[in-house]
Symmetry: D2
Subunit: 384 residues, 4 copies
């Protein structure tokens, strides 16, 4: 996700602290991946161990941490998650998680790091989950999304990996580590990218649902029309927030502009349940037809005649209907869909904590003054 690096690079001075001047490393890294058109993945979160304790307070020694340094760089050992598309990335960026704050302890310093290295570095190993694709189902048309677009989440193991000094962005510096989200405003830039992704997903779900409902004429039913209207409104909501965030942008560091944060936060918190609802609407539209759908590969089998005859719908020939319903299954029912729903819920952090933190950043005095002023006026009217 190069927008993250771009945002860090625009605010590279945020990585300078006291004598340590690591900002130039960030800047150089950004220029390199930009100029060489390199792709990058990232690993921002420590493994789940005991989720009631901070990463520097765990009993089990699992999370990636700094264990030594030498002339060439520092040595990282342990694991990080959750690197997406890591197997096809050139570089891996290892930075602080959006919402986590280290304590002030000596141990915390070992976790106060940030860097980027090639994925192909000695000692770095990727451990992927099983694919959501059903590889042997007969045809890629059976799971058209999973077979093309599965993201392949990886645990990243750093087995005594040496990070060169010129790739160090944060080194044993808890202040920079804890402050980097705020000082660089990176999350506003990534939120803008996320919202753009959400818009594409919202349009896809709306279009898929519309076609699916047309195929068997269920778009003539009131409750199906209500569902389609929800999907239309979802698109407009996401789109309007992007337009407004862009229209009301502010000048940012390094010649960038910073979109207004609040409309993008609205998308961040409101889109995931809408996406899950979109899956539900597609399930309601497709109903039992989503089960009664053979492998596309059966068109090449002895049962071709049956397949061609019995899987037609009111408005579609059998081949068109089967591929459409397979797409609907993969978008709204399959492992690929389940992973998408889970991803939307969590990719920007635990929404329970993230939305609480967001509410805390608001200036409550503004609200208190508005209501107080209203009540004062009404009270004075009563007295007269």
């Amino acid at each position: 996700m190069n927008v993250m690096i771009a945002a860090y690079a625009a605010s590279y001075e945020a990585f300078d602290s006291g004598e340590s001047k690591l900002g130039k490393n960030v800047l150089a890294f950004h220029r390199m991946i930009r100029d060489q058109d390199l792709s990058s993945t990232h690993a921002l979160v420590s493994p789940q161990i005991d989720r009631t304790k901070g990463i520097d307070l765990q009993e089990k020694d699992i999370a990636a941490r700094i264990i030594s340094e030498n002339d060439r760089g520092f040595v990282i050992n342990g694991a990080r998650m959750l690197a997406t598309l890591a197997a096809i990335a050139d570089e891996i960026v290892v930075m602080p998680a959006p919402s986590y704050q280290l304590s002030d302890s000596e141990e915390a310093k070992a976790h106060a790091f940030g860097f980027a290295i090639p994925v192909a570095t000695e000692g770095l190993r990727l451990i992927a989950r099983p694919t959501t694709g059903h590889l042997n189902s007969g045809s890629n048309m059976d799971f058209p999304l999973a077979s093309r677009l599965d993201d392949s989440d990886c645990m990243v193991v750093f087995d005594h990996v040496e990070v060169p000094w010129e790739r160090a962005f944060i080194y044993r510096d808890v202040d920079v580590y804890n402050g980097v989200q705020r000082t660089t405003q990176v999350s506003v830039q990534t939120s803008h990218q996320f919202a753009t992704k959400d818009l594409a997903k919202a349009e896809f779900m709306r279009d898929l649902a519309t076609f699916l409902a047309h195929s068997t004429n269920v778009d003539q039913f009131l409750h199906i029309q209500n569902g389609l209207a929800e999907l239309i409104n979802c698109v407009e909501f996401v789109y309007s927030c992007i337009v407004t965030a862009e229209k009301e942008c502010q000048p940012g560091p390094g010649g960038t502009v910073i979109p207004r944060r609040e409309p993008l936060q609205a998308v961040k918190f409101m889109f995931p349940p809408q996406f899950r609802r979109a899956c539900e609407i597609i399930q309601i539209i497709g109903a039992g037809g989503l089960f009664a759908n053979p492998s596309y590969a059966m068109f090449d089998s002895d049962l071709k005649g049956d397949i061609e005859k019995y899987f037609q719908s009111a408005n579609l020939e059998s081949r068109e209907r089967i591929r459409l319903f397979r797409l609907a299954v993969d978008a709204a029912v399959s492992s690929f869909s389940g992973r998408q729903q889970l991803y939307e819920r969590f990719f920007a952090g635990d929404p329970i904590r993230a939305s609480a933190n967001y509410a805390k950043t608001f200036d409550k005095n503004y609200s208190i003054e508005r209501i107080t002023s209203l009540l004062d006026r009404w009270e004075s009217e009563e007295k007269n």
Copy 2:
């Protein structure tokens, strides 16, 4: 709601039909209320009788209809609902409901009318529901919203009311009646006004909830912070849709501009449940404190000492706390709040039918083509 009249006036030619040239009456009416700064209410819907039948097919003769005509004008007899603030309006506008279509029958012509007359016309009677205000509770501060802002919905009875010809906008013309929503695009303009109202409400609920949560320090609880974040996001959603609808407006008739419809429709359908949720969030924040709240008038009673002592909260003196919690009750629990919640659900028509109709206006071919193109491409990749 003068924006409705303004929209009709901008498209006044939509009221001309064959020999009948009533558009000029619409234009003249708009100029009059604008120039004289008159207020208007409206009555767009026929009374509920048998809701499974169109208004021209009811057995009981209740709905307002044309019963005769003469040199001076035509005569209306029967009832219409639901005129809001009618008792303080100068004029009443009686026009087609947003979503209702008359049939092609002779009887339907008697219902195919549109006009505006002074509220003070002979034979016109208003029948209001009981107020949501609790008038004798002791102080207006007890129900601060209801005592100031109750809308007073009225049934309007036309007892052989004569409408002058120069006030006729539609007369026995089913085509104009059924087409006026489409030809004038009035609903886009009113939707813009509604969204503006919604923004004010959303901000008020956010601010009230914020202050309420602060008063007893419950804003330090995670689930309360989650609720506050929802209210912040609601404001940004409504605001962004308004900004985008305005930014992407098109030139309209008569020198007007027409905001883009879709973002405003998103507000129309998505805000009402958010408003109900806002009431729920305020209930969750206030909890039992919303019950344990005396009349503000008790500050003038023998119990003043008790009231001042026992109704303090962590951050508020007793008087401030009581008036704040009374406001919260009136915004989120009282008859006033209940009527607001009901109003938001229904004021723009039955959302079940309205959202279904909205979905039907979308061009499904666009969606079908996008998905078909995607599947065609993937299918061809499989074959190679």
Copy 3:
């Protein structure tokens, strides 16, 4: 709520502790109110001040506490909430809240009390909230529930109130105070009473919705039928849980039986949202007709003729329709309804904390063993 006293009395030995033998006072009190058929209210919760702190840690001295003792009894000063129907009760019972635990501090002892005294005791003052009834609306038929059934929640002020020793149930005994919920199982008995109340409410809402939908024939619409089915299912859910809790009861102390707790807990946590949904369903059924409804008192006014004509519906004369819709407003829209919805949410304690506490009482080992056993079996099948 005499069932609470009955439950305490059945386990009266739980109030004996060391030298202090107060159980006999509980038993005597129960016998008195039973034999004399006295009514009792209760006040279990301390006022909201700073809700992030325990009642013994507040800065402001508001909560009722023990301030002295003498030969006759001990003296309570401060406030408690939320006594329902206190103004018409004979006795007030002041006991620990269901979910609150005192700390082990010296100050906590001043809060570790339980007793019952006549409401008419010197120094005891009740401060009620304003009524939900709209007293001057013209007729009690306008707000038929509020005018008859409003519960009148009270803050209770103890102004140096002396509690006689024979009425002391808990006295400066943190162990008994903290343990009484567990040792007496009082909450199972009260949950059974609550569920019975919920059943009556569920039936009422089902019947009201059914009649309302019939009045204008909207019960012929699919989405209204879906709503009615929800209300039918709600009744059956509550009823089934009561039947099962009773069928699977266990012998309790003092000759009582104790219903099985879990089905009653299901009602406790699942009914409140169902009740709010019932209000919503009634709003959806009634729609604008809930606004367009005059005062019943208008049948005695000059407008009688209009009222009789224009408020008929398909299946009801005007008088029947108006009173039915007024009942629907009071059940699902008015201040009375809002207070009911709030009451259902909170009367058994904050559901967020209460349901969390409930989950913690479950034996997780049972679950862990079941899943482990399943996985062990499957794993061993793989190896063979």
Copy 4:
């Protein structure tokens, strides 16, 4: 589903009509599968074609219908869905769908049939959907549910299949076809079986969620505890409805008892959203850990050391954690889970139509009388 056959057999006389005495065939079939311990699948629904039209009004000739008869039996041609586990069943039962009613036309007679034949009958072909199992993921422990329990829904093609007369249960008899649900009360018996299945599922989800939450200590978080309480309540709700339906059973035909219908209907309509919510709760508990989970087969790979170290959690060794999280994925995220969620929504018919039909069976007069009686009493009190 032998309970369906058992219910039909208990009411076998419902299949006798005029001269046609097919009830004895039903009885004989039931005895055969019972005595020989045969398994049966069923196919009750016609394929989706144009879902706005009844099956006898479709333009495309796809649905199974009677096309001829001879001495040996009658001939069926066309398709039916959705036979579950058909490939391992002995017999297939083809009967009317629960909620569909044939018209009175001549064409309808061709669809008015009911029968059972061996799955291995000449001309009968099964067309299954692709499996939800990911067969080549490395280990069955990766998708432990899909690899063992996938139901394998099939379209059933009848290619000129001859049904022997002794296997005919309904033959060209629209009255019997349309009435059989009512006359046999089959759906009450199957609802009882469904509820039993739901109880098993509810317990499994509760136990799985409990263990999962324990593994990383997130069961110490309030919102996770709330989720676990929901799952506990779901079990109790289903259980209580079963207990009550059984306790309040009535004598049925043929020596059977018929459970009370209403509690089972409550389960039928309320459990499916609870099941989807259970999947969501498991997703919330597992979070990113559900992604960061390798194949179980990797314990046999070079990465064994990494796997054993980095996938531990607070309370589980790596092997235990991985298999637990793979089970959670398969229960709440995977294609298997998606199919389960879809199945629960639709297996007993479209819930929108089914719940509407259910509401229509209720006697509205009971409700109307109760409310009328209440209002009459209150009205008479007002007058005095």
